[in-house]
Subunit: 155 residues, 12 copies
């Protein structure tokens, strides 16, 4: 079975592929973390935060598809298997059991800040190798930063 | 922070909660596996199988929400964190890299058959403790069995 | 060509398969009978009954698909060919030519009552073998009984 | 005027009819109570609770229609007149005048818990007489328990 | 807990509040009466009247919300609790059990005529105190009179 | 009960009525055949052919309604009862049991070719008697020929 | 101001233009007659006939636009002014005041039969001069004949 | 056949009924005039004015229904027959044949101004007798005056 | 360039025009103030208040269009230029920088109360001169008072 | 690779195929011409003509698909390649660069007139060989003639 | 109350914040200017330009939200208060009173050209500091330049 | 007739204009090629590839509009006339007659690869002259590369 022929040279493919794979890990775990909080949430602001977390899930899931399909489109195989994500994620994990709303808001704010920092490095890293990939990462970063502001504003 | 007061007694809560937590692990990993195949697929039937896999993702994701929210509704905390899923899943994992369409169809058929067998045990296990939970599991099983037939018919 | 591997054992498959095949015959002929009346209707209440009959058709057609696809999903081949339906249906047949609205309402009320009685036997018969199939039959029975009431209320 | 002919025998009809009539009283008063709170609410969480209460109203109203139409479909006349509901309801009534949001959340949590307990008895009571009615009650109970969790999580 | 500050003076508030509370009682009971008939209806015109009654329900329910929210917007607490409605309603109540379609049409025609007469008094009574409230009542009256005509035309 | 007064003279009515009745038989059985294949299909192209067959069902069902209602509109009673269709259909019947996708494609191609030949005769036969009926038959033939091409192109 | 240049020769334009102008008069007055009945209707079947008449209005109005725009597209000025319609219409006029539902159904049946007869003459008359115009008239006739059947079936 | 019982006394009914009948004549002819212009229009601004005229038609047609149904709702029979409209309309009639766009804009501006003047008299005349009717007329006048401005602005 | 000819006399035009211009200033600045708060908001209730403020913006913007187009429809030129609004607005202005949610809720409650008082004066002022304009102002006031209640209920 | 088996004999296929291929060339180039004008347009009526041209594009594109798919459905291969269209089109070509709106309207009017003349010949040519093809061509001609009128009316 | 923590360093924040604040002033005043023209417009092309201006309003309003929310997302407080906009805007202001359509088209063309020039400077200025902000500004500029072309094409 | 005034200087305009004109030729011919294959396709995967090709057509057509309108927005006249496209296209042309599905998939994969290479050069070429144009080209390239992957994956 032949691999997809890349429109990029090897070095560019490597750089862009790494950036996209890193983004994929971040976005898959972000969706899982946000769902975990969505389900186990408690507190006065339950209803609002419960629904707000699903906006994060929707953003993370559509972002996953975009970065993974971009990866394979340039000839790099994305790896979104559960073991891979569990091993490579650097997102701070939530406790088991009930989660108080204010702690969730603080945790998500912090997680988004960390992910954004990594996305900004990836924007940097793809500037030369592939502006098409960079443009995709810029678009996702804009959405992540908007959500970061909204969670931070509630703290 | 007080826990949610369950409409079930302790034994029933334990039985139903275990069934739901098991279902949650299955459905989260099913979505991840189906996405992995969706992205890395190749072969003459690429387009059809690529889109068919997203039906599995949609089914698995809406099922996740239903079982996790049912769990917390009866007072059991669902755990869908990536490490938990990676450690407990019994779904056979896909290879990294490109995946041929016929092998994907065979793998998904097999995975669905295994998950269905576990769901049928969970239906059994919740018959006494909680018919509301059982009814939810029956509904998801019906959809899983329909997809199992559709994938099997292509082999 | 390999057959679909059933999630049920042989006895359960036989029982569920028979119930579904019987339901399929009833629902195919119900749709044909209701269309025949829909087309040849006359009388003061023509417009209302004409449109009401199409609700029966819609219910019967979606029910057909559900029971036939459930049959094949458990490994039983549904048979909805015209000769099979003509030979096995036990629904009382309508006269050729124009049909007066009050007679149609009475006939459909009677036909629905007979079909419902058979569906209740099928619910009985699938309780042990396959609760997933039973759940589907319960759902269709609920709709048939609702329509039965509505037609009966007009008599 | 002839009554609707029931698909059930007399004892089954009595049992199912009683369960449905009880459910109807609960659901009509639930809708009225939720609207009363929706209108007279005050407090920091006004907007969220105000809108959340309308989800209860929507659930209660669609449930009313389902149980009342199920009752008449099996040949039992539902009674949803205001005097009947006022006399038979066992839901604790709200005070007149403004209602503080946290007290409303607590009251609705409590009311839902009581209604759920009665619905679980009705599921029990209809298991033998009529599985179609039981299935309907299971479905409504699932939704009530989901809302119960969501209100309880805010306390 | 502070009450809502009214844009009206005390006398105007009293007059407008009374008109709105009266309208609320009428509209809540109208919805309950129309649903009771919707469920227990029989007769040749069952289907048409059954559906027509739900137009009354929809009108009564949206009217309830409008008058109750107008009341609280001007600083008067609406009271729509079941005991209040049962005690204060002057709408002639329906019999229990099956209801023949022609009798239902006559009863609804009569009930609407009585409600309209009271709404016209309320339009009168709010002309000085609050034209905003009056405008709302005029709008609901127009719809009630349209439905009154449609029911009367069938008698 | 008076029959519908035809806008056509007796000979024209006979010719147009016969053409429409023949078309009705073809279209009812085409829908049943396509559903039978839709349910019992297997093979590599299962998903595509499974869905393609439902396009045939949709076309056949909307065509049924059009020809049957055209028949009664000109004063000829359509007969779509199951016994009538079983006795008069000339469509080659499918085997019971699983059906391989390539054989289904070949069978549907052949069946459509036969039906089209009969529709072209009916277009011929209605040219003089009733251009309105002819126009309807031309429209359905265009759709049948489009589907015939699409199935044939897959062989 | 220059007139629209016709794609037809003078004789064909005259024939097609006359047919279209005649159709326009019929369809404008049909809409007015149906609205008059829609408003002044009484009787047991009020609701159904009231709504059915609006289907006639919708058909007549969309037909008006089609024939008038076809006329101007071939270079003939349509005349749909009220005086022209009043002077040239041959549709039997309704009485002033209330109209009983059965009489309305009979009257509309009769009016449609007369209009259909004229449309069939117009189909005849345009066969040679302009098949595009003829095709439009055939389409409208099919709809008129369908409505004629539906009204006649209620008598 | 009994007439509709009016919520108004005789004098009020007379005044409101006259106002509504006058409005009906204006709105029916306005729709016919606007359609006549819509069809026979020519000039540089054809497309814009052609579409703008259909906004007038839509407004006039929905207004017709509102005033006629209001008339019968208060017990006055609306008369919208073609002869009645032709005899009583005071709207200046358009020439036959092609109509230049600037002349159409001027004519519609003038016609709207005349109709508005009559509607303002009707608002005056219904102030005492029936505020519900008055409110309807105010609403239509607001729309007519908005269109009057838009046509006038183009002159 | 000719001005729009008014349906009102000079005094009425002056009174109605002044009322509408005043309303325009209020509604343009209300939209700007609400957006300023929407953007700079912080606090525990950020998400709910952030979205609630956009309901104010939507109401203010659709109100702007309605009053400005009403003004020009009666022949008065609305002035919504930024300098005009800045000079004439009497709405208390927000601070620059972040705004705490509870202070925003209090400020909007106060601003709405002031605007409502002015709208009630405008309703008064247009009663004689132009009931069409008055009806528009009554409609906007109803919406402003509903929002005023909702913001006040949160304080 | 086998060719599609035609429902027509060879002579009929040749005639119908030629007519459809000719129509295809016309419609592909019509879309290209209309887009060229859509993009390079200038003048006072820019906005209206710019949007009107896109209606031509939509009509031409849907027509292309219909004639090309009809061609292949009867067994004739359509040829819509750019070289074929460039060589065979007889549509007068537009100048490069900016195009004044009045000249564009005149050019499109002229182009439509020429295409209509050829379509009328094709309707003639397919009358014997294939009425299904003819019916399709009649439908497209009707739309072309409607657009021709609308462009001509602006000149 | 803590300020939002920026993902940018101080210098980048200053540069990006200034660009966004400048864009906000431009877009708020653009919306106000376009509305002023939308309301006071006159002339032959009134309808088209009136509607075209609302496209500008929609673009300006969605742009406002995007730039203001981007500002706060990076930790800079946007200032869109009326006094701020009035003092800082450099857009040439429209005259009071009626505005002729050709003058409006020329004015909007000119205003858009000036705003575009400033946006291009802002794209320049944000290239280093923040590519996410730059990407947003590029997107808005593309839309502004498209509208600039469309207005310019009408001059 | 004045040309559109460009926001770019002459050199930038030349570079961006050339890139856009080249893109236009590619996208127009891509749509024509994809349609040619869409119509003449045969083979086992006919249905899937037939529909997949229409995604290419949709992408190419929306891309055409975007690049052509961008060209004129910066003051460069796009040329999309059939002769221009035929002369300048470098896309390898398809054979006449039937086209086997696997050969079509290979051909489209190859064509997309060539077009992508040219688009990447255009992204390069517009980096200095006009980032707004570049951003548009990046967006289209992302979509082309996604489709390229999907076609390549089927080979």
């Amino acid at each position: 079975m032949a691999s997809v022929k890349s429109p990029l040279n090897d070095a560019a493919l490597k750089a862009a592929g790494d950036a996209l794979q890193g983004a994929l890990i971040d976005l898959i775990d972000l969706a899982l973390v946000a769902k975990q909080a969505h389900w186990n949430l408690t507190g006065r602001n339950f209803k609002v935060v419960h629904e707000h977390l699903d906006e994060i899930v929707a953003l993370a899931r559509s972002g996953q598809d975009d970065v993974a399909e971009r990866a394979v489109a340039i000839g790099a195989n994305p790896d979104g298997r559960v073991r891979t994500v569990a091993d490579r994620t650097t997102i701070p994990q939530l406790e088991a059991g009930y989660l108080a709303d204010d702690k969730v808001v603080a945790a998500i704010t912090d997680i988004l800040a960390q992910i954004i920092a990594r996305f900004r490095e990836r924007i940097e890293a793809t500037d030369e190798p592939d502006q098409v990939t960079q443009d995709l990462l810029i678009g996702i970063t804009a959405e992540l930063e908007k959500q970061h502001w909204m969670f931070q504003a509630q703290t």
